[in-house]
Amino acid sequence: MLIVACVKQVPDTTQVKVDPETGTLIREGVPFIMNPYDTHALEESLRLKDKYGFRVAVISMGPPSAEVTLRKTLALGADEAILLSDRVFGGADTLATSMVLTGAIKKLAEKEELAIVMCGRQTIDGDTAQVGPGIATRLGCSQLTLVDRVEEVDLKSKTLKVRRKLEGRHEVVSAPLPAMIAVLREINTPRYPSVPMRLEAEDSSIILWDNKVMQMDEATIGLKGSATQVRKIFSPERAKGEILGGEIDKPEDSARLLITRMVEKDLLSL
């Protein structure tokens, strides 16, 4: 049975600045990384592989340079990595993205029974958290978001049980397979690739699926298939921070000053 882990290569947003003139992201010289949430999705897929013997296929939609990230997933233990890359996929919003990803998953499911689609909760560049649920909707499978623990997978009854982390409580839910799981970062600590695995991955080939392979209707994908358009990107103005109590010696006085300020700003109720 198959787990499909969805990953995205994103710019390291801690290093991205917005150009105040044009309102666009300055991406020049910014390194790309695997979306941090997705590293946890991949790790969870690999753990389920170790435990239940699933096969793990990783898919990513992006430019050819996303190959670097896919190679890393192979070094970590993924069985197969597929890059969904074509000019017609470009400019996609979450809707169009989930169309392409769903298309790829369906294609994979033709050959092997699909058990789980594993996604990170959201990406750090778009921050929408919509693609995972979008895939689940389009696949018509169970949709499990905010998962911080996979309790068990029952291969006989083809169900799984996960724990969801909600505001102030946990919820344990069961769902039939196939299911889409969107994971939180707390779910696990990602592993580190060993050198033999890295060397193996360096020589492995990444499978490329363009639209000749995918045969998607061009009206549903890429810029054309996108329902949203970005009007403007800007950095919100933030009030300048202030260092309090630099001249105060006693910690008690510092604490008092801090509390007074917090009460003033209505950050703390007495």
């Binding site: 390291d12 390194p31 580190y192 060993s194 033999p196 060397l199």
Partner: protein
């Protein structure tokens, strides 16, 4: 041929055969190790052997080492006597020193007599020491030690017994030339019947003990008698300041996970250890009550080699992570600061640190298993090329208020390689600014790489993440070549040693200078003028950074600079210079929790506080952090400040 001679031949042949078999087994195991060329520069190696093995240079650094010196030389000289003894047993009538002319025979008899009594005294002192005043770093009540000491004492006693009986029987014309044997003989009834028989009995006792000693050697820690002289011959020609490269090819093994993956020299080292404990005595981890004792690491390697020897292919005792003797615990491997104090004191030049890094490599590269806090470090290094994972754009922030030129070949002479701590750590940025000020005052032409600077990879290499280090080193060297960088100034001793020593393995011939040396040179050349009335820093104590001092021999430059800048020589801590005590941050320990025992930096701060300093002078950003933290821990940070040497100098610059 007499019956005695035949009996002796049988005993001798059996003993020698057993000895040869033992040696064949033991040294055969060494040959299973990986290749390592230790046969180059024979002349220099021969000199090292003379100087360190026969000269016992490092042994006598401890006061009681003199006892070993005596025993060693007595042993060497008595080797002649004992060879004659064995040959004489085979051919009593044709081989004997007594057949020599009087002058030669009497001289030899005198020397052997004196040497024997010196050896006996040395053995007795050693036994007394083990019982009454053993140093904490040796396993005093070791059975092995007493067996050997007993055998040596027995040998000497039998030697005197034999000679004394012969003298009393009037059978040895050299009697008066053997003062000790002669004195013993004076207690015996001279000319009494049975003295000849007694002499023969002592002769046989002597023979049996001698051969027993020989046969026991390969099975005891005293095997060092055979191995430590060659080990000094095979010692690394340069100081061990780096680890060898690895070749990243499919099918290779990475690091050392089983004992035979060490080099043959690594295995031979383990045979050369006599468990003197000097390494553990010098080790900061051992000192602060951690499980790591360098002596035991080497011992475990030996035991593992021997225990797994017979099991072809199947290793019952794992080298790493097993229980008890012969297996090195994982936490032990991570406790090393790679400070090199162990290697600095080892009388026979055992290389502890490379062995530990070998095992770290196995854990990181093959098993991907390491203390969890390192995961973040490794990710940060790979993704952002600095240990904290700070955005590279922040690298130029320290220079926000000053004018810094980018390095440009032809326009700027030196690249100032600021280093991660110098650029990104708030406290250490002050050092960086001080250096910028000093360079400008001295009229040095310098520039930086700005946000393009990448980490040198020191911590990764010491932590065994050689794969990522290898990639970072190659990227750096490529950038240096592209930009035409030839001369580099570093502020961090770790960058310094890595660029200078480690990168040389990649063919990078860089002229790297640490700021302590550069400042010293600038003052000496008169290019840097200091105030005639130096700023009052009170009493200044200097702390040696391991990667500056022990690794690169820079001890005097910082001390001279302090003297120039403050008007007086720095105070010295109890452990200083090549005996300096690590701050606790080397070897990647900077990024790890110190879970076991007490804190190394606090121990060092306590040592510094004994000198009642007003200022602790450091020359390394890690030492800076460790001292800052340690002083806070001892609630002394309001009385004692930590300054980098560059800050002291910048303070002493005329306005």
């Amino acid at each position: 041929m007499s019956a005695t001679v035949i009996a002796f031949i049988i005993v001798l042949v059996l003993a020698l055969a057993f000895f040869a078999y033992s040696c064949y087994r033991r040294f055969g195991l060494v040959l299973k190790g990986k290749p390592d060329n230790r046969f180059n520069s024979i002349g220099k190696r021969f000199w090292n052997m003379l100087f360190y093995a026969f000269g016992q240079r490092r042994v006598v650094k401890k006061p009681f080492g003199v006892n070993h010196f005596v025993l060693f030389w007595a042993f060497m000289i008595l080797l002649i006597s004992n060879t004659e003894f064995l040959l004489n047993g085979l051919a009593p009538d044709t081989i004997s020193f007594s057949l020599l002319p009087d002058g030669a025979y009497f001289t030899l008899a005198f020397i052997f007599d004196i040497m024997s009594v010196l050896a006996l005294i040395a053995v007795i002192l050693a036994i007394i020491r083990r019982f009454t005043f053993p140093p904490p770093y040796v396993e005093a009540k070791s059975r092995d030690a007493f067996v050997i000491l007993g055998l040596v004492a027995g040998l000497m006693i039998a030697f005197f017994g034999m000679n004394a009986c012969e003298i009393a029987a009037g059978a040895d014309r050299a009697g008066v030339w053997m003062p000790v044997a002669n004195w013993v003989a004076s207690w015996l009834p001279s000319g009494a019947a049975g003295l000849g028989t007694a002499a023969r009995v002592f002769w046989w006792i002597h023979a049996v003990i001698l051969l027993a000693f020989l046969d026991y050697l390969p099975y005891s820690k005293h095997m060092h008698i055979m191995t430590s002289i060659p080990n000094c011959f095979f010692k690394s020609l340069e100081k061990v300041k780096t680890q060898p490269r690895e070749e990243f090819k499919k099918g290779n093994t990475f690091g050392v996970g089983e004992v035979e993956s060490f080099t043959w020299k690594g295995l031979f080292d383990s045979y050369s250890c006599t468990e003197c404990g000097r390494c553990s005595d010098a080790c900061p981890a051992t000192f602060t009550g951690k499980s790591l004792q360098p002596r035991l690491v080497i011992h475990d390697i030996k035991v593992n080699l021997l225990k797994n020897a017979d099991k072809d292919g199947h290793k019952e005792l794992p080298l790493i992570g097993g229980e008890g003797e012969g297996s090195v615990k994982e936490e032990v491997i991570w406790e090393c600061t790679t400070c090199g104090a162990c290697m600095e004191v080892c009388p026979v030049f055992i290389e502890h640190v490379p062995r530990i890094v070998d095992m770290r490599r196995h854990l990181v590269e093959t098993k991907a298993r390491f203390p969890e806090e390192l995961l973040l470090l490794f990710e940060n290094m790979e993704q952002r090329s600095n240990p904290w994972g700070i955005a590279p754009a922040e690298r130029t922030k320290w220079a926000a208020d000053i004018d810094v030129q980018p390095f440009e070949a032809g326009k700027t002479e030196y690249l100032f390689y600021v280093g991660c701590a110098g650029a990104l750590d708030a406290r250490n940025r002050h050092t960086t600014l001080s250096l910028a000020k000093i360079f400008d005052k001295a009229g040095i032409s310098w520039g930086t790489l700005g946000r393009d600077e990448m980490c040198c990879g020191d911590s990764l290499r010491r932590l065994g993440n050689e794969y990522v280090f290898d990639r970072m080193a190659q990227a750096n060297i490529k950038m240096f070549a592209e930009k035409g960088v030839k001369k580099i100034i570093t502020q961090c001793p770790h960058c310094f040693s890595t660029l200078k020593n480690d990168y040389r393995q990649y063919g990078a011939e860089l002229e790297v200078v640490h700021h302590t040396e550069l400042i010293n040179q600038l003052i000496k050349e008169g290019r840097l003028k200091l105030k005639s009335t130096p700023p009052d820093l009170g009493k200044v104590v200097y702390h040696d950074s391991c990667y500056l001092g022990r690794y690169n021999g820079i001890y005097d430059a910082p001390r001279r600079v302090i003297t120039s800048a403050t008007g007086s020589a720095p105070l010295e801590m109890e452990r200083n210079r090549d005996n300096g005590f690590c701050c606790g941050a080397g070897g990647g320990r900077m990024w790890m929790e110190e879970k076991e025992g007490s804190l190394i930096n606090v121990a060092r701060v306590e040592e510094a506080l004994k000198k009642q300093p007003d200022t602790v002078c450091v020359a390394c950003p890690y030492c800076m952090t460790m001292f800052d933290d340690g002083l806070k821990d001892k609630e002394a940070s309001d009385k004692v400040r930590v300054l980098d040497l560059a800050e002291i100098v910048a303070n002493a610059l005329p306005d």
